[in-house]
Amino acid sequence: MFVMWFVKVASSLMRTPKSRTEQHYYGRKQNCYSVAIKYVHRALRYNTLARKLRKNDARELWTTRISAGCTELGTKYPDMKLMMDESSIALDRNMLQNLAIWEPRSFRALALLTKSRQEVGLNSLEGPSPVGVVTRGML
């Protein structure tokens, strides 16, 4: 005897007029409520999670741009950050990348400050000791 398998399939149309979320989905996800609602909920969940990711992406982009500007001028981004922390220059990454693009001379001034900060002064213990002074490695 021939037995047919009955499968319950969601076939009802959308109960609400087509809202923005599922308008561009494929197939029944676009037209059938009980199929579409799952994907709409997923899309809304992604939307809320992306609020934080958008900020992370923007910060990463700013960092790339600032380090590109720094490399063009012969310094490095971590060194510039250190100089700004020490000198209490409170410019955030957003401002710095705007300066790098639109105010190149101001950005160049910051790069020169970084380089001058890294210069070893006469009194410093870091650089080579003066010529003619015998220290035997003790200084």
Binding site: L61, T64, R65, I66, A68, G69, T71, E72, Q97, A100, I101
Partner: protein, 178 residues
């Protein structure tokens, strides 16, 4: 647009063609240097979707220098897609077969793994020696500094410069150095 503004626009957005001589350079470190130029991340106006990358022309790829025993130990994997089609090729074997492949694979693996990679690789031009076609040489507008210094061979100096170089001391003519 005024002339000054026009020059500024071209200088900012014009696509540069950089030349890189990888003679006696480490291909891994060279790739670290070249990839930001293909991305565009060496520019403050960078955005991944901005198509801000530049062209890089790599010459002398036959003369690259892996450190240590990498030539004997480093392997490159390839699978044809058919059953039993996996091959592991040693670096020196691959270099013998195609002297541009090593630097190409290194850069390909260092670029970000998205759909923009193929387009960025299309902007990379690799030549095994320093013979570049005229069409590409005409476009080259800048050069990238090498990472490792390339010393000059003694026999490549002119003879008179070697003879006239100041000496503190020289062996007597009948002295046998052995």
């Amino acid at each position: 647009m005024s002339a000054v503004r026009r020059v500024q626009q071209w200088a900012t957005f014009g696509r540069m063609w950089y030349l890189y001589d990888c003679k006696w350079q480490n291909p891994l470190d060279s790739a670290d240097k070249i990839v930001p130029y293909l991305d565009g991340s060496h520019k403050p106006i960078f955005h991944p979707l901005n198509d801000s990358g530049d062209h890089v022309v790599v010459i002398n790829s036959r003369d690259i220098a892996f450190p240590g025993d990498e030539w004997e130990k480093r392997v490159y994997f390839h699978h044809t897609g058919y059953a039993g089609g996996a091959t592991w090729t040693l670096a020196w074997q691959l270099h013998e077969a195609d002297p541009t492949m090593i630097i190409r694979k290194t850069i390909y693996n260092k670029l970000s793994k998205n759909l923009l990679r193929r387009g960025r690789m299309a902007r990379l031009h690799i030549f095994p020696d320093d013979k570049i076609p005229d069409s590409i040489l005409k476009n080259v507008s800048g050069q990238m500094r090498q990472l490792r210094p390339v010393p000059r061979r003694l026999d490549h100096y002119p003879q008179e410069q070697v003879e006239n170089f100041p000496k503190i001391f020289d062996w007597p003519k009948d002295h046998v150095i052995n």
